[in-house]
């Protein structure tokens, strides 16, 4: 490999080809993997090759893709289905959208390969309706692939047929969970159900079904083109290939990055992301979205893969990666994610519906300066119970943002409950603005900026804030050109 930190496999065609022209995909080797497979490989060989590649699901769980296909192949069914999960509900994530917008044919080719491997002749792409451009390009791609005879009946004269249809997502985060997704495709409420039975046994319409994430699929044609052996040389012992991340937050170069598994967070933040905006100090990186956790500086040098991230209390997730600088309040971040998951909980089971709501309420109390040390113990205890007793992945992982920030930033929680202070100055109820009389020259700028008119003082004399009326909006702090206002 050259000196580049990034290696593009899943994104190989994004930004290179015209996604609305199948010929550009074909010119870059598109459908060669499918052609070769249909021409000379048995379905079992396809599964073996995927197992050999070490490819694991990129949608969050990290389950070995070859094994999943093998289960669906072995289970009997009148019909079988392949579903592409393009629900992508994590706030801040746009990896799957980018692949669908930049290289939709790769997903269709991969679905047909999976169909051949398990013995399925029908596939659905379950995509969120909020992705109009991706839907448009996918629709064009499907039409062109049918016209070219690369999906549909008797593909390339092989006798194998595979149809692909689009289904629009209902817009709820939980619909990305595979059992909820299947019930949504069937036209029912998108609610998860208990596993087993797994989709590989009883999935869509009760038939053996494989649900694969967009990025997982995007890797599949490449694996057959480059060879499973070569693919397996990339990455770490347990995690092969690359991972796409949507790099966001307080980093200079936000964007879509694809790195070999085993790359360190430091390489992503500093070499690829070009460091923290404004030269500020790094504080944490959030991975795994609402199911993941915040990783502190001490772990910047561990090679990231599915296992290492789990060990440090976060997870790979689907690839959202938010960089946070020193001005971030970790309690506030935990509260943000909990608010998201409580909004998105489907309400089917009690620990998730009520438990996460309680967690959220306690966090609100703490950020308002009304929390106690007992509240911190309750957070931990309740979080543990929710994780152990919720029905689906949403509830099981929802406490992670709280538990991981408590693990690494406990001092910050303590400051909130003991000293009633927010060290980052984010929780407004705990922030105090004061004018330092020695520095104030009485320019009146702050008084003019204050929306509640609670700053008094004569021109050229030190001003004063009436704390009882102050709403902590920070307008005075921004207005003062003389550093005379102290924020604490």
């Amino acid at each position: 490999m050259s000196g580049h930190k990034q290696l593009r496999i899943a994104l190989r065609n994004c930004g290179v080809i015209d996604p609305e022209n199948i010929l550009e995909y074909i010119a870059r080797g598109g459908y060669m993997a499918l052609g070769k497979i249909l021409d000379e490989m048995a379905p079992e060989d396809v599964i073996d090759e995927l197992k050999k590649s070490g490819l694991r699901g990129r949608g969050g769980g990290g389950f070995p893709t070859g094994l999943k296909l093998e289960f669906a192949r072995r289970n009997e069914g009148e019909r079988k289905y392949i579903i592409c999960n393009a629900d992508e509900g994590d706030p801040g994530a746009f990896m799957d959208r980018s692949i669908l917008e930049g290289d939709p044919q790769s997903i269709l080719e991969a679905m047909a390969i999976c169909g051949y491997a398990v013995g399925a002749n029908e596939g659905y792409v379950y995509i969120r309706a909020e992705y109009p451009l991706a839907i448009e390009r996918l629709t064009i791609a499907i039409r062109q692939a049918y016209e070219a005879g690369l999906i549909g009946d008797d593909i390339m004269g092989s006798g194998f047929s595979f149809d692909i249809k689009i289904k629009y997502g209902a817009g709820a985060f939980v619909c990305g969970e595979e059992t909820a997704l299947i019930s949504s495709v069937e036209g029912n409420r998108g609610e998860p159900h208990f596993k087993p039975p797994f989709p590989a046994e009883k999935g869509l319409w009760g038939m053996p079904t494989t649900v694969n994430n967009v990025e997982t699929l995007a890797n599949i044609p490449s694996i057959f083109n480059m060879g499973a052996g070569r693919f397996a040389e990339i990455g770490t012992k347990t995690s092969k290939g690359t991972k796409v991340f949507a790099l966001a937050g307080n980093v200079n170069k936000v964007g879509l990055v694809e790195v070999p598994m085993g790359t360190t967070l430091r390489e992503i933040v500093y070499d690829i992301g070009d460091g923290i905006v404004g030269g500020k100090k790094f504080k944490a990186v959030q991975t795994g979205g609402p199911s993941g956790g915040c990783i502190p500086e001490q772990f910047l040098d561990i090679p990231i893969d599915y296992e290492s991230l789990k060990e440090i209390g976060s997870m790979m997730g689907s690839g959202g990666m938010i960089i946070m600088d020193e001005d971030t309040c970790m309690v506030d971040i935990a509260k943000y994610y909990l608010e998201f998951t409580t909004d998105e909980s489907c309400g089917k089971c009690t620990p998730c519906r009520i438990g996460n709501k309680r967690l959220y309420e306690i966090l609100c109390k703490i950020t308002k300066g009304e929390g106690t040390e007992e509240d911190l113990d309750s957070l931990k205890e309740l979080g543990g119970i929710i994780k152990d007793t919720s029905l689906c992945g949403l509830g099981q992982t929802a406490p992670n943002p709280v538990l991981s920030t408590m693990k690494y930033f406990y001092d910050e929680y303590l400051s909130h409950v003991r000293d009633k202070k927010c060290p980052a100055g984010i929780c407004s109820s705990l922030t105090r603005y004061e004018i330092i009389a020695d520095k104030c020259i009485g320019c009146t700028m702050c008084a003019k900026a204050c929306p509640t008119a609670c700053i008094s003082g004569k021109v050229r004399e030190p001003h004063k804030i009436d704390q009882a009326k102050c709403i902590k909006c920070g307008a005075c702090f921004k207005a003062c050109k003389f550093d005379a206002i102290l924020k604490s």
């Binding site: 994004c14 980018s98 005879g149 694809e258």
Partner: protein, 128 residues
Amino acid sequence: MIKIKSFNELKELKESLNAQREHIRIIVGMATCGMAAGAGEVFDSIAGEIMRQGLKNVTVVRSGCMGACHSEPTVEIVKPGEDPVLYGNVDSSRAKVIISNHIMRGEIVEELVLEKNYETASLGEVEQ
């Protein structure tokens, strides 16, 4: 579009497509991120300028995300036999400069060049 009826036909089509590739490609990043930053206008002005200048050997391509969300809109120039050059923060007037300098005179517009910090896995041709 003709129907491809065998693996051999697919291979032949691929060969013939690659044989025709002596055109200069101007690739505009037009995923949701690029569109939000004004890539649509940039595309239109590039296409218009190519017509006005009567440049025949140039293809303007609408493409997906090149990953550089921090510098959208992005435009990449791929000339046969040369390393591709990626430009960032392109607007309509900068696009015209890129066409007159880089496409027509072969001079790279250094101040707009973005460092391309990734490598694409070679597609490892299927044995034929």
